[in-house]
Symmetry: C2
Subunit: 551 residues, 2 copies
């Protein structure tokens, strides 16, 4: 018998499921319901369309209803909002927003991919035409109209996550004055504080006014202008405000359906994307599943996972639950002006919150061979299990090659890899692309040296604590480097002199070594350890990480 | 007791072993012998120094003897050639090329890293000052002198491997007329013929005269000018000739040592880098070991493996053989003008030669989201085991993101990954870096679809064979595309029309589908299969691969 598949939501998860369903089942009837005017659009491209980086609006549409019908015989009903589900009758109730009519449609299997909508907290004054948020094509059309208006000169972006910062960049490129307001003490929460500080410096260097640790208290309306009042009482005038403080599963219409939802409104599914109703599945930004790393429930609003879930969900529908989803580790990335910021797996703060044991290795090194032109520094941080070396996560900030390093770490996490794998990893090396020892290898070496007892690293915050507790801070950089700035109270013995000046190092105190990035500190550590010093630790990431974080 | 480690060769393998040995054993005496004037130089940078891309000569030196002494207390004796080894006495015999003296030096452990030297076959006329090869700093000094001379206008590069093509590019950038002569039917033997044709087109587009399937018969001397006579009788005049037809282990000095060598002159070592003499180890370009993939002996002259072997070798010396080397899969890469060419693991021709079972998946797709500016096509080919899906190898050609894709595949091969892993791989996605389904995912999907019986692919050469054997060649591109060129004898039914024109497709013949790159061919295949057609195959890589290869 011909199956009837109904799909709610016509973008990544919905359209992806529809396409794969057709390839798996030529005879089924497949109908996709989309509330908005467009299906299959490139949400991820919207900020670049606002910035005129993507110049043709039509490029935003990966598929149209016509093309979908032509090539895959999928019926896409736009301007069709699903407002209720009758699970007993196996029908959905649809509002036709164009004709202003309503009707029911029967399903054999129903797939939900309603996505997530921007959070809009009850801040006083939040309802104003200049205060916008960004999810859909119509959102960006409004935002772009506003930018195009000559009266629009000052913008405030509320929220320093990746969508907020992509918007900040594109608004800046369009010539606006841009402020970013973030309630946390850092931007880009997908990475840790020490690396985020590099991003913050870059944003400031690019002329963004950055307000950290400062939330919005209220919006004050003055005609078309809005004054954003921060908790600190700072007042910022703006012609355009982009709200980008996170998203929430767009599942209000499921409230009375009896479909089990998590506290954040996300749809609970099993590893085959089945909800608590066997005939109803769900994918994408709107679902919750267990993290393969922390084992806690997570909602990961990203397009890669949504697309892959969609494909797998279709297979499980047709084949009957043969291919369990192994979950997503939240690999993500953003270009922020000239910088790339990316992360995979768990962060240090995530590990702390989950109470999981970890260690951390950091390196700041060239993205390719140092002697080849245009080498730029790449910061790479890896978190790993202190006994097994299993990789928990990685994060990176730099000007080139960041995406590659994070993808490699993601691949290894996917195979339950360890830092030993990173040390052994065989990269494709020629001077424009890598070094004979890739940053991935280096960070692996650092971690393996710790696991094998060759070295003991300490992170910038622990080092700062140790310093306050009276540790001997030994800076092994050259005198010239030391004079340009050093850790408070540090003593300078260049690593090349250390063998001859061992007497100056106390044996009865904790010794914290630092150099610029950790390498010479490690060389010095090897000398000290093999000369009977045991209370030695090397500051991972060196003065660069410390200075970034302390500033 | 203080150990005495002697090392022969002062670059990647030698210097790398010395450095790690020091960090593992602070008290040992470590002496490194280097025949040339320099240690620790960037061989890989030499072509770019010739091309003035690397402008400062000093940048080529990663370490100097002074720095090595200062930081690691390693004594580097340059201009010191080791000419013999007395294994009984545990001494080496050294020629001091500066003072013109000779002496013996005793060792506890001897490490060999003499590298490999360019092959110089006995072609008539090969001895001429304009005929040069490239390995060391002094080689590049001579080559550069020659390029700098205004009389030098025409260059011939013999050999289309990565060093030859890097030189061709840099000579061209310096304004020379450049010809490349290659005896095989393709350049860049690290990839297969179908992908290499893209490189060849690019070389020609950049103004390189390319001679394929044509070896050098002789060099004819006319004063400072040399005429290169090819087997085809073509004659090319040149002021400068770069010989770059491969390298051979530089082990002539070991001939009488009793150290076991393979037929190609490479030093035989076990997984701890021990030669047949327990006190002598070897690493780098000069060794032979079993490929972890083909299990056959291989010599891999690459800097990444050399450096990693060095580090591991030092550990095995100090710890007593605890860390077996898992081998190298030959991951390598080159920038060739605007293109990047890279490969990892086994090639199709390598698999054929080894008689190993495989299948192949090819995709030509954007290196990042299609709607984001500057998207360029990336060709990606993956070879995998036809039953288990285990990845044998990958290769890629494109303008951006090639290094990343090959590194990801290398990581998966390192973990004995399969094409299922490629399909599931969680990339860092934002429009400038990837697509919601990365090319890595796509090639994984294609392969998994075959493994799961959803699709059956055919390679360009098999398709060509099938065509000759009377298969029905069905081109499902649009009429416009079809008219611009198609496979001989192909019938055109656009994939969007196929459902309505099934009657035109014969049930009693083999059907070979093609579209531009394989995607619509696959869509069409799904329609046909689900309509009872069983003798269907989809041309992997589509018309693009076919046309590249057939031309
Ligand atoms: C500005 C922006 C930039 C982004 N950049 C990136 C990026 O760089 N990388 C990345 O990985 N991800 C990015 N994302 C996230 C990515 O777009 C989402 O993860 C992905 O689109 C989720 O797919 P989905 O199908 O779950 O939801 P959506 O794509 O949101 O689709 C859900 C659709 O369902 C419709 N819908 C909802 N309820 C109903 C209903 N009741 N009836 C009918 N229709 C309904 C909605 O109108 C919507 O069109 C970005 C998102 C935005 C907004
Ligand atoms: C032009 C060029 C470009 C390259 N590009 C790349 C690239 O992009 N990527 C990549 O991975 N690899 C590249 N390589 C290869 C890479 O340089 C080698 O794999 C690596 O240097 C091998 O290290 P090794 O220690 O085994 O040998 P080598 O680096 O060759 O060092 C051996 C040293 O030993 C010395 N020696 C030999 N015999 C004796 C003796 N009897 N006594 C004393 N000294 C002796 C030699 O003079 C030499 O300096 C390139 C090589 C060249 C020449
Ligand atoms: C485009 C969209 C409708 C999905 O449709 P789709 O037909 O699955 O599209 P894709 O381009 O992903 O097609 C991939 C299919 O072609 C196959 N394919 C791709 N290249 C191929 C090739 N060279 N040879 C053979 N098959 C190939 C793949 O295997 C896959 O088929 P499968 O899933 O049956 O294995 C959906 O992803 C979408 O709406 N995207 C836009 C919205 C979005 O993702 N937004 C967020 C990010 S901006
Ligand atoms: C440079 C050379 C002498 C090796 O010396 P080296 O001291 O091992 O140099 P590296 O820069 O590789 O040092 C890496 C060491 O520092 C450590 N390290 C690097 N960054 C670190 C950091 N941020 N924190 C702590 N340790 C760090 C690594 O763990 C490694 O030590 P280990 O091997 O004991 O684990 C040798 O590789 C060489 O001669 N190279 C040039 C020649 C060559 O390779 N040519 C071919 C390619 S062009």
């Amino acid at each position: 018998m011909k199956k009837k598949y109904l799909i709610i939501g016509g973008v990544a998860g919905g359209a992806g499921t529809a396409a794969r369903l057709r390839r798996r089942d030529e005879n089924a009837q497949i109908i996709m319901f989309e509330r908005g005017e467009y299906i299959s659009y490139a949400n991820c491209g919207l900020p670049y369309y606002a910035g005129n980086v993507i110049t043709e609006r039509s490029r935003l549409f990966v598929m149209t209803p016509d093309k979908f019908m032509e090539s895959l015989r999928v019926e896409a009903r736009i301007l069709s909002e699903v407002v209720a589900i009758d699970r007993e009758a196996k029908t959905i109730h649809v509002k036709d927003l164009k004709r202003n009519t309503e009707y029911d449609e029967r399903y054999d299997v129903l797939i939900l991919s309603p996505g997530a909508s921007p959070v809009k907290p009850p801040i006083p004054g939040i309802e104003h035409p200049a205060i916008m948020s960004l999810r859909s094509v119509s959102d960006i059309d409004s935002i772009k109209d506003k930018i195009d208006s000559p009266a629009t000169k000052r913008a405030v972006v509320v929220g320093g996550g990746f969508i907020g910062l992509e918007m900040a960049e594109n608004l800046k490129e369009r010539g606006l004055q841009v402020s970013v307001v973030e309630a946390l003490d850092q931007v880009m929460n997908i990475i840790d504080y020490d690396l985020a500080s590099e991003v913050q410096q870059h944003l400031r260097a690019k002329g963004i006014n950055l307000f950290l640790k400062d939330g919005v208290a209220s919006f004050e309306h003055h005609g078309s202008l809005v004054s954003v009042r921060l908790q600190s009482e700072t007042l910022i005038d703006a012609d355009l405000i982009i709200l980008s403080i996170g998203v929430r599963p767009d599942t209000a219409f499921l409230k009375d359906s009896g479909i089990a939802l998590a506290k954040n409104g996300a749809i609970k599914v099993d590893e085959f994307f089945t909800t608590n109703d066997q005939a109803i599945r769900a994918v994408g930004d709107a679902i919750v599943f267990d993290s393969p790393l922390s084992k806690s429930p997570v909602t990961i609003p990203l397009a890669g996972p949504a697309n892959k879930q969609a494909r797998l969900c279709a297979d499980n529908i047709v084949d009957g639950n043969k291919k369990p989803y192994t979950g997503s580790i939240g690999t993500s990335i953003a270009k922020i002006f000239d910088l790339t910021v990316a992360s995979t797996g768990l962060t240090e703060k995530g590990l702390k919150a989950a109470g999981l044991p970890y260690r951390c290795a950091i390196t700041h090194t060239g993205n390719h061979a140092g002697y080849y032109p245009n080498v730029r520094q790449l910061s790479l941080k890896v978190l790993y299990h202190p006994e097994t070396g299993k990789i928990w996560g990685g994060q990176s900030v730099g000007y080139g090659g960041v995406d590659k390093r994070i993808d490699i770490i993601s691949a290894f996490i996917g195979k339950e890899g360890t830092v030993y794998d990173l040390a052994e990893f065989e990269q494709a090396y020629a001077p424009p692309f890598s070094s004979a020892k890739d940053p991935i290898n280096m960070v692996g070496f650092i971690a393996v040296n710790v696991l094998e007892g060759m070295s003991d690293t300490i992170s910038w915050d622990e080092a700062e604590q140790a310093r306050k507790n009276g540790a001997f801070m030994l800076d092994v950089r050259s005198e010239e480097e030391f004079e340009l700035g050093a850790i408070e109270g540090a003593v300078n013995i260049p690593n090349t002199d250390l063998r001859d000046r061992l007497k100056e190092v106390p044996k009865d105190r904790d010794i914290i070594l630092n150099c610029a990035i950790g390498l010479r500190g490690y060389f010095a550590e090897r000398i000290l350890r093999q000369n009977g010093f045991t209370r030695v630790k090397n500051l991972t990431g060196g003065f660069k990480t410390y200075d970034n974080a302390i500033r």
